[in-house]
């Protein structure tokens, strides 16, 4: 790597004492780069290489997995004029924001409830964390079985109430709704854990002082908890949005993006274009769009990490 051999620019000041000199000399030492070399090599192989390859394939014709002639920005033009693209973006937005609107308050409430408990804390925490411990493949498939239109208990309940069987995955609207709810069900503990960490840093004196003023529960929440958690809320929003924008597994095991592309988010579209349509340059163009969207979120999350050293 070029970093290892490049000369250092920061000139160290003249060291006054011997102890500091030892440390200074160590800072100058170029051999520290040997320690980050393996990580850099792995990232070059798994991230940087493939990203360049993606850009390269997006600029070329592809047939199956063979790269053909240079085609300029053709695949991007195709992507942007694809009548399915607005639908894909809309699905991504509905899915991500929908899951967020459920998981964020559920996570916050669960964290507050858990934080106020004095007994059975461990059991309740295990209950709240249970869905997050399960893999995405497990979560998708157990809901498939639970909602099974022929034998599932959900169907038994809805039929006994006079509605039909719960055939949610066969109609576009209900499929998207179901996938969104399942994703929120699985992911709300992630928000809870982040909130819980932040809640524990609220100083008790702050609460006590308001107690003397005689504020109610709601008063407490609005005046202490929410302002205190403002930064955390923003970073939880970004973390969850990144999780949802990248989500493939839950959608893949439940609907594969169907029916009628109703659950095909951008991530799912990349998967389907690669493995169903064998349209590699198309998939690469979509991947770059997805990458750009994700980069915006990443920069936001890093900004907030720095701010509160989360």
């Amino acid at each position: 790597m070029s970093i290892a051999s490049s000369p250092r620019t920061q000139a160290p000041e003249a060291p006054p004492t011997s102890k500091v000199e030892v440390i200074r000399r160590r800072r100058e030492d170029r051999r520290v780069w040997l320690y980050v070399l393996p990580v850099s090599a792995v990232f070059l192989f798994v991230f940087i290489g493939p990203l360049f390859y993606t850009a390269w394939t997006a600029l070329h014709e592809t047939k199956y997995y063979q790269i053909g002639e240079f085609s300029g920005l053709n695949s991007f033009v195709e992507l942007l004029s694809d009548p399915n693209l607005p639908n894909s973006i809309r699905t991504t937005l509905v899915f991500s924001l929908g899951a967020l609107i459920i998981a964020l308050p559920a996570g916050l409430l669960s964290a507050i409830v858990l934080n106020s408990l004095h007994r059975f804390k461990r059991s309740v925490r295990s209950l709240f964390l249970l869905t997050w411990l399960m893999s995405q493949a497990t979560v998708g498939t157990i809901w498939l079985w639970f909602l099974n239109p022929n034998f599932g208990p959900a169907t038994a309940i809805t039929t006994s109430l006079g509605f039909g069987p719960t055939d949610v995955f066969s109609s576009p609207t209900t499929a998207l709704l179901a996938v969104t709810l399942i994703t929120a069900w699985w992911s709300y503990p992630q928000a809870m854990l982040l909130f819980l960490g932040a809640l524990q840093t609220i100083p008790e004196e702050l609460r006590e002082s308001l107690k003397v003023d005689g504020g109610g529960l709601w008063h407490d929440f609005v005046n202490i908890t929410l302002p205190f958690l403002r930064n955390t809320i923003v970073s939880v929003v970004v973390v969850l949005l990144m999780l949802y924008v990248q989500m493939v597994t839950i959608i893949l095991v439940t609907t594969r993006g169907g029916p009628l592309r109703a659950t095909e988010t951008l991530s799912m579209r990349v998967f389907n274009q690669t493995f169903n349509d064998f349209n590699l340059s198309g998939a690469s163009a979509t991947a770059i769009l997805l990458f750009t969207l994700n980069l915006v979120l990443t920069l936001a999350v890093i900004r907030f990490r720095r701010k509160e050293s989360l």
């Binding site: 160590r26 991230f47 990203l51 993606t54 411990l133 639970f146």
Partner: protein
Amino acid sequence: MTTATATAASRRRRSRSVLPTISTWVYIAISALIVLPPVVWIVSTSLKPEADTIKFPPEWIPSPISFDNYIGLLTPTNIRFFVNSLIYAGGSIVLALAICIPAAYVATRYRSRRMETLMTGILVLSMVPAIVVFIALYSMFVKTALINTYPMLIVVYTAIICGQSILFLRNFIENISVGIEEAAAIDGCTRLQILWHIIIPLIRPGIAAIAIFIFVFVWNDYLVGTVLATTEDMKTVQNGIVRYITTGFGNFWGLFSAFIIVAFVPVLTIFVAFQRWFIAGLTSGGVKG
């Protein structure tokens, strides 16, 4: 929980303790009603004899209880899935620790602008959507001998969790006083000796949390096994679960449920045994699902 005990437990909130306690437990009860049914249903299905799994209306409590589904899981293919996942998880833990600990160490102790840039780069890259990278890796290597091998998948898993692992380990190393290292340096310890004899023993809890986090991540991952393992004999436990749905014919629901339970046992065991470290690892970042 009665209100009397709640009052005793939180004497500070004497006057307003009844209402919050009730609403708290109502919330917990509703959560249980939302979280538990699919889980109970899977446990119940896994304990039913084959014919009972598709009885309608369904029965929540299996009678008679049968363990045939669990015995039926013992096929060479299924065992292979478990062995593969163990190899991937074990390999990723070893490789990730071997490359992340040194990187986290120098990134914490030898700060320079260049090093910070590298670390930010690693963090940004590790947040690239996995699917973007996987399809590129797949199409790059589908024609070569690299795809479908243990080292390839282990390197990919490692790369995905590296960013978070380094970030997490840095927090631990920052808490160690530099004085110890200075003293050791004056006594003539090399940097590698300091790392090996001083830093690593001191950050053992952090290493444990990271190892647990990596195990659960790899064990629960479905996408890498789907895209980068192209033959059945290299697939993972999670692929094994979904395989029942996609290729199963006849009545496979009992076996499928038993498989899910068995696949969940390692994660649950680790969670129960090491709850504190487990949660520490989970909160370290957790951007990747």
